[in-house]
């Protein structure tokens, strides 16, 4: 037996990165709204193909940080972002970067379902069309059907694709928005309280969908429901007063958080 090889493999096993691959890496991110220092030196890695939940009280900066990841903060007047955010090692604040393209790679689902006032089909077809993802009508139809299928909506809407998206129920509308996000083949999907306006059954459907989607996408979800964070995520990050207080595996955060502030928040002791 060649000892040098054996030894080398032992060394490799010891030095190999233990954790998962980080899709999104933020380093020392500060965000200001005018004079207000909304986010203070946030550094975090978001593991790929899994669900990361951002939790924290209102105004803690979790949504602000979420919006840094697809540069939605660019649209807010007086907002400045300092520090580095990379996706797959690429700096997304690089001035030469095409923001429209970035937002296709990083899809977003909002608190209130916001389908376009168009047909169900057009809601999903819109993105691929403007990004030129389909070369033919057949290809576009295929993308729409696949996206609706992945969003778990196809069975319910396949016979009414020409009806307005706004005519669907709240939960269906939210799944339509997810289908719309998926249609442009993003790597990352950001969800800002995607279930807060839904009933428990519709919420469970979305959570089931999130769990299915994590096989192919990196998902970041901001939620006010601790139970939802515990149910859907593998990693949880707790924000408080603009600071990332603690990040860890979801089961560690919810059984044995290391920081007192995290403990107080998730056990409902926050003032």
């Amino acid at each position: 037996m060649d000892m040098s090889i054996a030894k080398a493999s032992v060394v490799a096993a010891e030095t190999a990165p233990a954790g998962p691959v980080m899709k999104v890496i933020a380093e020392d991110v500060d965000v200001f709204y005018g004079d207000k220092h909304a986010l203070k030196s946030v550094s975090i890695g978001v593991p790929e193909r899994s669900v990361t939940a951002f939790i924290g009280p209102s105004g803690c900066g979790k949504s602000t940080f979420l919006r840094c990841i697809n540069r939605m903060n660019d649209t807010i007047a007086g907002c400045r972002v300092i520090g580095s955010v990379t996706i797959d090692g690429q700096d997304i604040y690089d001035p030469s970067l095409d923001v429209v393209e970035l937002r296709a790679r990083v899809g977003m689902v909002f608190q209130k379902p916001n389908p376009f006032p168009k047909t169900i089909f057009e809601n999903v077809a819109y993105g691929p069309r403007i990004h030129g993802l389909a070369r033919s009508k057949v290809e576009l139809e295929e993308i729409v059907m696949t996206s609706l299928g992945k969003a778990g909506l196809l069975e319910e809407v396949k016979d009414r694709l020409t009806e307005p998206g706004t005519g669907l129920s709240g939960g269906q509308q939210q799944r339509l928005c997810i289908a719309r996000a998926i249609a442009v083949s993003p790597d990352v999907i950001l969800m800002d309280e995607p279930c807060s306006s839904l009933d428990p059954i519709a919420t469970a459907r979305i959570e089931e969908l999130i769990d299915e989607l994590r096989a192919n996408y990196t998902i970041i979800i901001v939620t006010h429901s601790m139970q939802q964070a515990a149910r859907v995520s593998q990693t949880t990050a707790f924000f408080h007063l603009g600071i990332l207080v603690e990040q860890g595996s979801t089961s560690q955060i919810f059984t044995n958080p290391h920081d007192r502030r995290t403990q107080d928040y998730i056990t409902g002791r926050f003032g």
């Binding site: 601790m226 044995n256 998730i266 056990t267 002791r269 926050f270």
Partner: protein, 239 residues
């Protein structure tokens, strides 16, 4: 944890569970103590009282379980609160077993009352019982004061009880060989000693639970063990 929940009813319910566990602990401790008195004095009345009082421990254990289940269902406790509820479950079930073991000793007292017996042999059992009782008391104090060091100490001291049980086992065997008239009495005493040793094991289980409750970490170390009687004794799978 001293800080209050925003929902005060949550605090009340959690405190209610903790108090019930403490009460159940106090009762079990008393049962063990009385069972030993019954044994050393061969006092039938005390033995009967132990048998009756064990029902209250069982009842309390069921109450604690029901409260804990309701708390999980209605409040979804997290982190330290979740560990608090899990600890209550586990400790209540250990205490229920302790009560049963004390009751079993009491039943044996009734069984051996007419037997020929020697006070000297009983002393050995009394000694190990006092040790186990001290362990139980200390671990319940550790639970009440959330003292992880005290809990760890109980955990590591179980070895003494195990060692004592081994020597007691040999001693009782010797008496049985010396005079066959001792056999029935000594066999019952041996079971009593075994019960006491098991009470010690439950005390260490509780110590592990307190360790988890306070630190959030499970105790991973292997407990130091003496197992030289296993060649004679039926192996216990759950200690």
């Amino acid at each position: 944890m001293t800080d209050r929940h925003i929902v005060t009813a949550f605090d009340e319910e959690l405190q209610h569970v903790i108090r019930a566990v403490a009460e159940c602990g106090g009762l079990s401790e008393e049962l063990v103590s009385k069972a030993i008195i019954a044994l050393t004095r061969l006092d039938i009345d005390v033995a009967q009282a132990v048998i009756n009082d064990d029902k209250r421990v069982d009842e309390l254990q069921r109450e604690i379980e029901a409260m804990a289940i309701s708390l999980i269902a209605r409040r979804q406790p997290m982190a330290a609160d979740l560990r608090e509820v899990v600890a209550a479950f586990r400790i209540a079930s250990d205490l229920e077993r302790v009560g049963d073991l004390a009751k079993n000793i009491a039943k044996r007292v009734i069984a051996i009352q007419d037997q020929f017996h020697s006070q000297q042999v009983v002393h050995g059992v009394e000694h190990i019982a006092e040790l186990a009782l001290a362990q139980l008391k200390n671990v319940l104090d550790a639970y009440a004061s959330r003292d992880v060091r005290a809990a760890d100490e109980v955990w590591s001291r179980d070895e003494e009880i195990d060692a004592l049980y081994t020597s007691l086992f040999r001693e009782l065997l010797t008496y049985m060989m010396e005079d066959p008239r001792n056999i029935t009495f000594c066999a019952h005493l041996l079971f009593c000693a075994k019960n006491v040793e098991r009470i010690g094991d439950h005390a260490t289980n509780i110590a592990e639970t307190v360790h988890y409750l306070v630190t959030g970490e499970a105790m991973t170390e292997e407990r130091p063990k003496q197992s030289s009687v296993l060649a004679f004794d039926l192996p216990q799978t759950d200690d």
